[in-house]
């Protein structure tokens, strides 16, 4: 029984990280229709910035928000430098440009910082655990889930209540008509990127806190997970991204828990096999009906 509880905790924490990552990708996709393959690099940026701030002696209470800000700035820069010139191009073009951007950023880190992984001196409380009814729970996991829940609630409020949030949703549905409302839709786009940077920064903190290392290629896994989760959930659907994140984490946790030891290395293969299956059955992702609904209008 305690094992199940353990797995559930793992699932919730992992799902939170994946959900945040997927959401970051989905936000940009819903407004611009493009997949930001450099989204993983935002995590790398936040990681390296944490290293830098720690070296400069900045207290951790500040490092965390600062690293998130660094991620947001990087995201807005990406939009300005790479994505704005690509506006209006066909999907395959922006896909490849996006891929290229990711490679360029990774290589830049490789060149200017070095291939050796840097250690991030996380504060000791990230390693703390406590016990509840025989189940050992990491403080970090609880924090991950709680922060994510809070962030999602805030995001929901923003999208439903504030004019900018509603405008963002409108722009993702129909960019031209949003401009007809007298709203400067073009100005919404850097905002969407900043939002994705925020999500990536927060996800990055929790993601990196486990391994405590950052290297030029660190962003690859967050991108992969976030991307797959966003697609499973139905690309462009924000609620789908969150659902996809927990679904993917659920799959991984399930396989880890149930598959015989010998097959452990093949978990990834199984997971991706399931992904193809899901796409096969629901080409538009889990939120297929919702997508169809929007299209009908």
């Amino acid at each position: 029984m305690t094992e199940v509880a353990q797995h559930i905790v793992n699932w919730l924490a992992l799902g939170s990280i994946y959900a945040l990552l997927a959401l970051g990708i989905a936000v940009v996709f819903s407004v611009l229709g493009l997949i930001n393959f450099a989204h993983g690099e935002l995590v790398t940026v936040s990681g390296y910035s944490m290293v830098a701030f720690a070296i400069w002696g900045v207290p951790w209470a500040l490092i965390i928000p600062l690293s998130v800000v660094a991620s947001m700035i990087a995201a807005v820069l990406m939009e300005r430098v790479a994505y704005r010139p690509l506006r209006g191009a066909p999907v395959s073009t922006t896909l490849l440009g996006s891929l290229a951007l990711s490679i360029v950023i990774q290589s830049a880190f490789l060149m200017f910082v070095g291939a050796r992984p840097e250690s991030i001196p996380f504060p000791t409380w990230t390693q703390d655990t406590f016990e509840v009814g025989g189940v050992v729970i990491r403080t970090l996991d609880v924090l991950t889930f709680a922060t994510t829940a809070l962030l999602l609630a805030l995001l929901l409020m923003f999208l439903r209540r504030s004019v900018r949030g509603i405008a963002l949703r409108a722009a993702s549905e129909n960019f031209a008509v949003t401009r007809l409302m007298g709203i400067r839709a073009n100005a919404l786009i850097p905002g969407a990127f900043a939002l994705s940077g925020l999500l990536a920064g927060v996800a990055g903190f929790f993601f990196l806190a486990t391994a405590s290392l950052v290297a030029p290629g660190t962003g690859f896994i967050p991108l992969l997970k976030g991307f797959i989760a966003a697609v499973i959930g139905g690309l462009g659907s924000l609620s789908g991204a969150v659902a996809g994140g927990f679904f993917l984490a659920g799959l991984e946790t399930l396989f880890q828990a149930t598959l015989p030891d010998g097959t452990a290395p093949f978990i990834d293969a199984f997971t991706f096999g399931i992904v193809i299956l899901v796409l096969f059955v629901r080409p538009h992702g889990l939120r297929a009906e919702r997508a169809a609904l929007v299209e009908r209008a």
Binding site: I35, A82, P85, L86, A89, P90, V91, S92, T93, T94, L95, L96, G97, L99, A100, L101, S102, I103, V104, Q106, S107, A108, L110, M111, F112, G114, A115, F220, L224, F227, I228, V231, L235, P265, F266, D268, A269, F272, G273, V275, I276, L277, L279, F280, P283, H284, G285
Partner: protein, 385 residues
């Protein structure tokens, strides 16, 4: 004189009207140019040059594989390197000498029929192509049904699946450890032969009915299915065909590099191939040119690095870092400035005709709208206005 010109034009249009002749001639032209380049390298090039040329040929075959699927269907594929890997490993499995395979250094626990198989390039190629075709058929049946971004993602998933399987199937592939000891059967002429074959296959496919139908779906999915094109079926053929070409590249790869590791066939290689495909344009000639350009560029960077570029904080690690950055920047620039690639949609031999048409000047058809006197014709007759 003009009779001869008329005759030439006549022959030309005869060939252009028949798709297989168009394809064969175009492929022949491209192959000829390629062969000349290779011969030149073999005669005058240094040993390094020749190595580069051979690597170029192997990559070219893989890139043509990419091209056959990506350019005709419009669906980006991240998965074809998986087929290169499968081709390479299959070839390694059947060509590596039995004693070596059975020894501790490789796969002593593998099933007997694998351990005891030891064949040359020809049979290896056939077997590898069969294996690749099988996996392509299996994966393709699912992937071709997907639309939009999902298809590209599924190819990504395929890449990861294959990588994971290859990297963990200790019994058969040594898992993540390097497989070495493959006999070196790949010569430059063999590679050239395979490359030429790939070019012919790719051109023939492009001009054939199947290729044409597929390209229609690339332009407009809805319209093409409205005229009866079965998108899934069209893509399936291209998927398997392109996979087999990529697999052939893998066979060459194994026989040249003599050792394999699963991480060789992952995202880095995928990126390089994708850059090659898109830089040149979506035609077969474009793929060849793109592969050539990127190879030249990579070599140039490597030479410049060994001769030393010392700019500020860049240290020795730059050897790994510079190439991807430059390639990445080139892709970005290409996407921004000329997203259709150097040759665009056109094959090499189609360009002269297009330029001539342009040079001869455009003759606009005058619009047949009636002249309008002023902004309107006021209605005659009485009535208050």
């Amino acid at each position: 004189m003009s009779a001869m010109a008329g005759g030439v034009r006549g022959i030309w249009s005869y060939t252009q009207d028949r798709w297989y002749l168009r394809a064969l001639l175009g492929a022949a032209l491209l192959s000829l140019i390629l062969a000349l380049v290779i011969v030149w390298f073999e005669t005058y090039g240094t040993r390094t040059d020749q190595r580069v040329a051979l690597t170029f040929l192997i990559n070219l075959v893989a890139v043509i594989g990419f091209q056959v699927f990506m350019s005709n269907s419009g669906v980006p594929t991240f998965g074809h390197v998986a087929f290169v890997a499968i081709g390479a490993y299959t070839a390694a499995l059947v060509t590596t000498p039995t004693d070596r395979k059975s020894s501790e250094t490789l796969i002593p626990d593998a099933p007997g029929f694998i351990l005891n198989t030891e064949v040359g390039f020809g049979p290896a190629l056939v077997i590898a192509l069969a294996v690749v075709a099988l996996i392509a058929a299996l994966s393709g049946s699912a992937i071709v049904r997907l639309r939009g971004g999902s298809a590209a993602i599924a190819t990504l998933a395929l890449l990861i699946i294959v990588r994971t399987v290859l990297g963990n199937w200790e019994q058969l592939t040594r898992g993540p450890k390097t497989w070495s000891g493959i006999p070196g059967y790949t010569t430059v002429w063999l590679a050239l032969g395979v490359a030429v074959a790939a070019i012919f296959v790719a051109r023939l496919f492009r001009e054939s009915g199947g290729g044409l139908r597929l390209r229609a779906t690339r332009t407009d999915e809805l319209a093409s299915s409205a005229v009866g094109v079965d998108i899934s079926r069209s893509r399936f053929g291209a998927w398997v065909l392109s996979a087999m070409i990529a697999g052939a590249a893998g066979v060459l790869w194994a026989g040249y590099f003599l050792s394999l590791a699963p991480q060789d066939f992952f995202f880095d290689l995928t990126f390089v191939y994708i850059v090659m495909v898109i830089i040149g344009g979506t035609s077969v000639s474009g793929a060849v040119i793109g592969a050539g350009l990127v190879t030249l560029l990579t070599e140039a960077i490597r030479r410049a690095e060994t001769q030393g570029i010392h700019i500020g904080p860049i240290d020795a690690d730059q050897v790994f870092g510079l190439t991807p950055i430059v390639l990445g920047l080139i892709v970005l620039l290409t996407m921004i400035l000329r997203p259709e690639g150097l040759l665009g949609r056109w094959e090499l031999e189609e360009w002269p005709a297009r330029t001539l048409r342009g040079l001869r000047g455009r003759r606009w058809r005058r619009s047949t709208a009636r002249p309008v006197a002023g902004p309107a014709n006021k209605p005659h007759g009485g009535g208050d206005t």
